[in-house]
């Protein structure tokens, strides 16, 4: 082993020995073990520390681990963490009273619970950044906890060794299931999800417990978007990448909505942590995928329009309630002078599933390439408002289209409120060549 490779290990040994031994001596000794006796680096370091009268358990084993990748049943776990909470506890073991402590520690990847078996020996307090060595982990009910037993070691580190971690107050939690935005479904609890904060908005709302501040907006990853509500101030900023843990999902008309409160964990991520996440236009999602979770926020779907429903085209609405006026009468307000409007109710089908789509006046005008006024004129000339529906059919029926919008669901299935609709542009030849190449592999 070369000198510059040895250097960091020499430094570490010197630290464990509290500077009682000169680094040149340590280096000489370590080189001897490594290059003459050719033992492993770990063994060499332990032996050197022992020879100089130090505690070999104070050495870091291997690489520093991250909270998020500690699994149950591991020995010799070394972690750099910030202490979030520390709670003393008295237990009776075999008729003997013992002082313990428990709490929560965290690094930039997440937080986990711990049990401290010797609070008199290992001293730290909330807010400390510490290097934990030789802890062991246990899994119970799907939750991984850390144990600091008689072999464990703690070293105080500078506070800036870890970024500030927004943390829950008290208790410890399982890391929770990590899911993609597109997999979030109504009723999920304790989920971890990562993505980009696309929008954030501060709102004050009145609840039974008085006024509350909620931060809401859109979170996106490569699989989709979701509306979130943060019930605590995590200082969320537009455009930043975050990992949210201990969040839960509630559905509104089938659309999954992400909620997280004071007990959640929010961690800032770097672009390289989430290479797949792109902002801007969503990638297409299959209707099947959306069906699986019951709804979607601002999804892009591709399919063919296989039906244009009655009530599409030129309609009249009640000036008071906006309900559709049929035969000059509103269902609620009776005979009224209706206001002209345009809409489309159609069925989009991708060969695997179907999706009802509803387009408002603006989208319908874009699809038709005509304004409402032009449509009214056409209908009046033809003495029949149905001509506009025929125009709509002419434009979209049997056409492959891509539509974008929120997808709701009820007992009739999925329905999209379309915000944008356009013809599909695919390079058919390219796709055919690719498929053919794959198939001819079978030949």
């Amino acid at each position: 082993m070369e000198k510059d490779e040895i250097a960091p290990h020499v430094k570490e040994i010197a630290r464990v020995l509290n500077g009682k031994v000169e680094e040149s001596k340590i280096e000489e000794e370590l080189e001897n073990y490594l290059n003459v006796y050719r033992v492993s680096l770990d063994t060499a370091k332990r032996s050197v520390v022992k020879n100089f009268g130090g505690d070999p358990n104070a050495l870091t084993r291997g690489n520093r681990r991250k909270v998020s990748d500690v699994k149950g049943g591991e020995q010799n776990v070394d972690l750099l963490v910030r202490v979030l909470t520390l709670n003393p506890k008295e237990v009776e073991i075999k008729g003997e009273k013992r002082q313990l402590a428990y709490g929560l520690v965290a690094d930039e990847t997440g937080s986990m619970g711990y049990t401290l078996w010797e609070p008199q020996r290992l001293l730290f307090k909330p807010g400390d950044v510490i290097m934990l060595r030789n802890a062991y982990s246990k899994e119970y009910n799907g939750r991984v906890d850390l144990n600091l037993g008689n072999r464990a070691n703690v070293e105080q580190m500078p506070k800036d060794a870890l970024p500030q971690i927004d943390a829950p107050a008290g208790g410890s939690y399982a890391p929770g299931e990590t899911v993609k935005v597109g997999e979030l479904a109504d009723g999920m609890n304790n989920v971890t999800v990562s993505g980009r904060i696309v929008t954030v908005e501060r709102r004050e709302i009145n609840t039974e417990d008085g006024a509350k501040v909620v931060f809401s907006g859109i979170l996106a990853d490569e699989t989709g978007k979701v509306q979130y509500s943060a019930w605590a101030d995590y200082q969320l900023k537009e455009g930043e990448l975050v990992r949210i843990s201990r969040a839960y999902v509630k559905g509104w008309k089938g659309v999954p909505k992400l909620n997280f409160g004071e007990r959640a964990g929010v961690v800032r991520l770097k672009a390289e942590d989430l290479p797949e996440v792109t902002s801007g236009k969503p990638k297409p999602r299959s209707i099947e995928d959306i069906e699986r979770v019951g709804g979607a926020t601002d999804a892009l779907v591709i399919g063919t329009i296989v039906d244009v429903k009655e009530g599409s085209g030129l309609i009249k609405r009640c000036p008071q309630c906006k309900r559709v006026v049929l035969k000059g009468a509103c269902r609620i307000h009776g005979k009224v002078e209706g206001i002209w409007d345009l809409r489309v109710k159609a069925i989009l089908d991708d060969g695997n599933s179907t999706l009802a789509v509803v387009m408002n006046r603006t989208v319908t005008e874009t699809v038709l390439g005509q304004k409402l006024e032009d449509c009214v004129k056409r209908a009046q000339e033809a003495l029949n408002p149905d001509v506009v529906r025929e125009m709509v059919e002419e434009k979209i029926l049997a056409k492959p289209m891509q539509v974008r919008g929120n997808v709701l669901s009820d007992e009739y299935g999925l329905m999209m409120i379309v915000s944008e609709a356009s013809a599909v542009e695919t390079d058919l030849k390219e796709a055919a060549v690719a498929m053919l190449a794959e198939l001819e592999g079978f030949q």
């Binding site: 063919t304 179907t354 056409k399 060549v433 198939l439 079978f442």
Partner: protein
Amino acid sequence: MMVRELAWRVFAAEFASSKLEIKGEGDKAPSHLITPLGAQVNRLLAVGVLTDIDNIGTEEEPLWRARIQDPTGTFYLSSGQYQPEATAALSKIAPPRFVAVVGKVRTYIPEEGTMYVSIRPEKVQVVDASMRDYWVLETCRSTLRRIEAMEEAAKMEAPSEEALVKLGYPLPLAQGVVKAKGHYGEVDLQRYRNMVIDALKFLLPEQAGPETPMEVSDMPDEIEDEPEESLDKEKVVLELVEKLDKTGKGAQWDEIVSGAAKAGIERDELDEITSSLLDKGLVYEPVLGKMKII
């Protein structure tokens, strides 16, 4: 209200090879045609060339019979007064044109083991070549997915819907594949894979060599152009069905057979004639074993 049946993308060759129909149980439950690759078709989307169209009804009450060609074969369509939108659309189209059809499956079983399928259209829309090409590509993709699902099912000791869904196949396909496996047994998947390859080459004429005319189906044409004689015989059978329908609930099939024999129409020929009549929508089967004039 029931959840809408999806529109399957199936090539004509696969569609026409279907020999299994599963009737819905209970009121208004939909029936499904199970194709050899496990598509479970109640509704389908077909895009191709409308090659010919005939009105076999009257001027006032048209009954259109049409053929739509895709790269693998022919879809048969019949549309009458109960399909007002499609019938109106068809009356305005002069072949050849690219058309898209959304419709429901209709089957006719002249005898056990023989099944003719056709489409009862809901919507007919004139489209352009690029939309036909899009459909061909989409149908290739869809067909390949079915082939893969069939292969997965073949690996299983006892293919089950749950196991296929677990592999990521949607439920309607998983159900169809299990039913297809049970009915068709070993399906020649390579034949269908070759069909997809041909369809892809159809989209890429420069890849397919110098001569690639649009392939006409090698499937037998169920509906041949009829000579005068067969039209006469159809008339005979039609009259026979009407005459033998004494109760208003339809004529007994065995009586039709014996009646036809007296008129010099053999059993095989009778099957052909009734199938043609059914396809034209002139007669229907109110219950199995009975036939009635529409």
